[in-house]
Subunit: 340 residues, 2 copies
């Protein structure tokens, strides 16, 4: 699609920061810019890293940034901060990295607080990675702490998703089994110098092998992606060039295992670039993202209508006081709208 020359300047870092803030604050005006950004992307690699609290993700990210820089890659990090689901804030690890890489203009780090409201977080995160991409960063790290559904949603943004665990994370693995296998392109057992690291790595490998032969009910829509992933796992050595989920052990504090991790990331990146299963996954994700975007736009429209229309505002107040039926009202608002 032809477009006028973008109104933003890739070297303008302060502009970048402002733009991200506008996205974070859901400033409706940003949308036109985002549409431009979308077409200006050059295909940066998105690396998602998630795992339970205390897995040492921040240190690991720090090490990976260093490694990426050694290869001359420009790196942008989006750290999603769970310590402030409702009130903003900055990750401690974020601050650490800020210092480590201060003055290196090949590294940009931004943390956003999880916004509680209406799944807007995955939406904002997607937009921000598109902005990073358009700004010419080669690697985009998306870091979330936690292993809830929202982390899974966010990880859909990633071309490559690493699940970071520690030797003690047995409970997490047991509880999230299927979920972890659905999102992980690789497992990292960090703090690998602790007792139990090998046992955890073996448990994960066993879980992967088991899943490869297991047969879960599969949710229709939305998961062509994951279905494919499972099939490819099911035949790790097959001629289809399938991706077999690796389990790596690292000690982020000392840097042990970082080079192998880096090589694995590169390997998955090129697998993603060439394997049909990968492109099918990306299609499913892009489709889901489009619908989310539609919902978000509608929501802004409705909120605007309520802000502009006192009668509507009174009804919403009644709903808030439990005096009116939200279903009826939501449908009435929709009914006023005639889509083809």
């Amino acid at each position: 699609m032809k477009r006028p020359r973008p109104s933003w300047n890739p070297t303008d870092i302060r502009g970048l920061a402002r733009l991200i803030s506008r996205v974070e604050n859901r400033d409706p005006g940003t949308l036109a810019t985002l549409a431009q950004m979308h077409d200006a992307q050059h295909g940066a690699h998105r690396l998602g890293m998630t795992g339970p609290p205390g897995a040492g993700k921040s240190t690991l990210v720090d090490q990976l940034i260093r490694r990426f820089r050694e290869s001359g890659e420009r790196v942008a990090v989006l750290a999603i901060d769970p310590s402030s689901p409702f009130s903003g804030g900055a990750l401690l690890g974020d601050r650490i990295r800020m210092q480590t890489h201060a003055g290196d203009d090949g590294v940009y780090i931004r943390s956003i607080g999880s916004r509680g409201a209406r799944g807007g977080l995955a939406q904002a995160a997607r937009a921000i990675t598109e902005i990073f991409d358009a700004y010419g960063y080669d690697r985009i790290l998306i870091e979330t702490v936690g292993v809830g559904q929202s982390e899974f949603d966010i990880m859909e943004l990633a071309d490559t998703t690493l699940v970071i665990l520690v030797p003690e994370a047995g409970d997490t693995v047991q509880t999230l089994k299927a979920g972890l296998l659905e999102i992980a392109d690789g497992f990292v057992v960090n703090k690998g110098d602790r007792p139990g690291a090998d046992a955890m790595a073996q448990a994960l490998a066993a879980m992967i092998a088991l899943d490869a032969h297991g047969d879960h009910p599969i949710q229709e829509e939305h998961d062509a992606a994951h279905r494919v992933t499972r099939e490819t796992i099911a035949s790790p050595s097959s001629a289809t060039g399938a991706w077999a989920i690796p389990v790596l052990t690292t000690t982020a504090l000392t840097g042990d295992g970082i080079d192998r991790l880096y090589a694995t990331i590169r390997a998955h990146q090129s697998w993603m670039a060439h394997h049909p299963a990968a492109s099918e996954k990306k299609r499913a994700v892009r489709r889901a993202a489009f619908y989310t975007l539609c919902a978000t736009l509608w929501l802004e429209r409705v909120e605007q209508a309520v802000a502009d229309n006192p009668a509507l505002a009174r009804i919403v107040d009644a709903i808030a006081r439990g005096k009116a039926n939200p279903y009826d009202m939501a449908q009435k608002i929709l009914a006023q709208c005639a889509t083809s």
Copy 2:
């Protein structure tokens, strides 16, 4: 609002199960029923229980069900299963309870798998609790495993939210600090017979006291609720009858501390019923839920339009292949719609 006699029968448990499945599967036809259900609610108490994997929530829920039954309360449990973010499934703890309370028609237990797609989970959970309420259950337990953003969203459904931790959960507490304080009406240190239980309880109490005097940036919209909560915490002994977040220790396996937990739940329930801060919180939550509902309805509308319109379907495919701009398309679809 006057309505025709409901088309469902509160004693028809199989009908209840079918209805919940329809909600889970986003069967559009359910909406009219949900609108009726909404008005048929009699004000059941919603008790949310969340916490990291391995905190023993299922056993605790099991004990609470027993306690509620002793008081002659009818109990419905909605267990949200994180082990299957994309592929459905049932909690182990769920199965245990199924057996424990089998044959007791005063207990209904249902688990739903976390659906990855577009934050539909909180939406479905809300609808299901409304159904339980309309079916005349007195206590509705909402159980989620995990401490991610989605768990926080779901906990907004609850009148009373308990965060369940174990003596070893130090990392979780450190990472989620602010988040935990935003949602918790009470903390439970379960597995209280383990070493470190008292230390954890004291750490939580200290965190609560600190937060009461701290001053976080507060997110405009959506959190009148939490602002109020914080203020009330800030003056636990004040004349405003504020709610001071308690920290309880339990050992679910033996039943230790369950009676005190039950008493605390009752206490918060009546506080919610009378304190203005509580009603302000409920208003903020109802308002947010209404907007989510609007977004969901719009999404169904758009998906239907795409299904019915081959030209539209082709564009969505192009978006999925990365060949078309989702922002442009989403706005075009919205533009076709003229809301007041």
